[in-house]
Amino acid sequence: MTLTDTALRSGRGTGRRGLARDVGIVLARELRPLRHDPFSVIFGMVQPLVFLALFGPLLAGTLGDRAAGTLGHDGVWQWFVPAVLVMTTLFGTSATGSNLLFEFQTGAHERMLVTPLSRPSLLIGRALKEMVPLAGQALIIVVVMLPFGFRLHPPGALLGLALLAFFGVGLGALSYALAIAVRRQEWMFWAVQQTVIFPLMLLSGMLLPLESGPDWMRVVARLNPLSYLVAAERDLFAGRLDSTAVLWGWVAALVTVVCGVAVGVRAMVRSAD
């Protein structure tokens, strides 16, 4: 009794709370159910591998002789593996809002709102939760692809994952804002998410090189932040840490994070109305 009393008082007395600490609490809370339910994680980790195994050969086959020219000289896997990681991040973090939607209905989110947790931490912690399985996925993909000629550049790969996590926070926050905006019509969440995600993905040169598409597509792609992210990931995974594409990738991620968190926090503060 006295122990908790003292601890409570000291906790109350600290005044300023670190954002990092709050993010850590939200992240740990989000991860706990995964620990109890490892199958869902394992299942999720295998999915990108299936995609890689089925789509990769088709891609190389379709491009045929032009493969080396369009995909660069690093080979199809060097082109495709980073893209699959971006894709997993895209799908994972853009779905964070749906988890929130559920906690919105049950009241768990409301309970968190009536605590001193900083508002951005509720967004950031949830988005980062998607990045933990992703790191595992990346490791599995890399290990599996090594025998097929994929070359690993550890510093580049780590920076690539960091960039993805950063971008994922922004996207997760936007997904969160979407969930709040459509909370009275749940089905809208998936409708909007899919409507936005697929064009973004195809217009980023993630799955198929845009070089083979019409001019207008290449123009639109230049306005798509995801294009810069994909290009940056490809350079990072190839070990080109100081390329311009990497710099633009960070800029695109930064813009996404700033917009995402601003919109997300605004939505959250008004969410109870």
Partner: protein, 336 residues
């Protein structure tokens, strides 16, 4: 503990349509009080509670909760209040004990202290056996107790309970109130609650605040409200004989009118009805007087008022009959 002045909340529901959910609430709650807020659906109870717990910002007016302004220092308020909303505070995918430990961490407890506090609360609320269960697998009553536990983790001096017993069976309701009562006895917690169950408010609260159309229409102890606004009602019938018919009733009505605090005496055939100041004392007195006067009383009933009678006296509507309560749209005035 709580001071509000002219607190209002308007919701924009459509183009140029605003619903005034709360229209100028001035509420003052002292430390240690247990206050029940009553009112029909849509009266503004929950909206008021959501403003006091920093979930929504007031349109106008001020509210100081646990010593801090809800708009300027929401974090300070959040540190000092426990909140049990209408939904389930615990995430359905989570384990019971995990959620309590997380809540402790949120409120600044270190890992060890958070675990200890979680175990304490599991014990207090009879949840120890369910510690490792998934929240989704709990029964409604168990989940509700967990909600209350979550609200208590940081030993808040002020606890808000928004319809804490809705959907619980009578045994669990009684259990929950037992916990709240013990908590108050042990820690002197101030409690503000809303409830649909009038008997609960009657039994639990020392003070009842009745809200209707976004305004406080009455604020006093349940006993005082009942005495002031509803009063005890006595209903008697006289024995009818061939010679006197129902004449006895007229005499009885005259006697009833002389009782202390008597009003609205109505005679109808062999039946006499009256409101009196103190029913339990008035009824035997009347029976003695009737016996002396030779009036044979056949039946005598005493009706003590409920909070519903109070609400009826205040608004002309009953809280109980759901059908009689106007719909949300009709109740909340729509202003352009």
């Amino acid at each position: 503990m709580i001071h509000t002045t002219a607190l209002t909340k308007e919701f924009v529901v459509g183009r140029q349509q605003t619903v005034r959910a709360v229209r100028g609430i001035g509420l003052h709650v002292d430390p240690g009080e247990l206050v029940a807020v009553l009112g029909p659906n849509g009266a503004g109870k929950t909206t008021t509670m959501r403003m006091l717990t920093t979930l929504i910002t007031p349109t106008s007016g001020t509210a100081t909760v646990a010593g801090h302004d809800v708009v300027r220092e929401p974090d300070q308020v959040r540190r000092r209040i426990g909140y049990v909303g209408q939904g389930n505070g615990a995430g359905h995918a989570h384990r019971v004990r995990d959620e309590l430990v997380t809540q402790g961490a949120i409120h600044g407890l270190n890992r060890r202290a958070a675990r200890r506090r979680a175990d304490e609360l599991l014990d207090t609320l009879g949840l120890t056996d369910l510690a490792t269960r998934r929240v989704a697998d709990l029964s409604g009553g168990q989940r509700r107790r967990l909600d209350v536990a979550l609200g208590l983790v940081h030993r808040p001096p002020l606890l808000f309970l928004d319809e804490p017993t809705t959907g619980l069976d009578p045994q669990h309701r009684a259990n929950l109130w037992d916990h709240v009562r013990r908590l108050r006895a042990a820690h002197d917690v101030t409690v503000v609650l809303t409830t649909h169950y009038l008997d609960e408010a009657d039994a639990m609260a020392e003070r009842v605040v009745i809200v209707d159309h976004g305004e406080i229409v009455a604020d006093d102890s349940a006993a005082a409200l009942k005495a002031k606004l509803a009063g005890d009602r006595i209903v008697l019938t006289v024995g009818v004989t061939a010679s006197t018919g129902t004449d006895g009733a007229a005499g009885l009505a005259r006697l009833a009118a002389r009782l202390p605090g008597a009003r609205d005496v109505v005679r109808q055939g062999d039946r006499v009805e009256a409101y009196v100041g103190n029913g339990p004392a008035a009824l035997p007195e009347l029976l003695r007087a009737a016996a002396t006067a030779g009036i044979r009383v056949a039946t005598a009933c005493l009706y003590r008022p409920t909070l519903d009678d109070v609400f009826l006296a205040l608004t002309g509507r009953s809280l109980r009959e759901e059908g009689g309560v106007p719909t949300e749209a009709a109740r909340t005035e729509v202003v352009a």
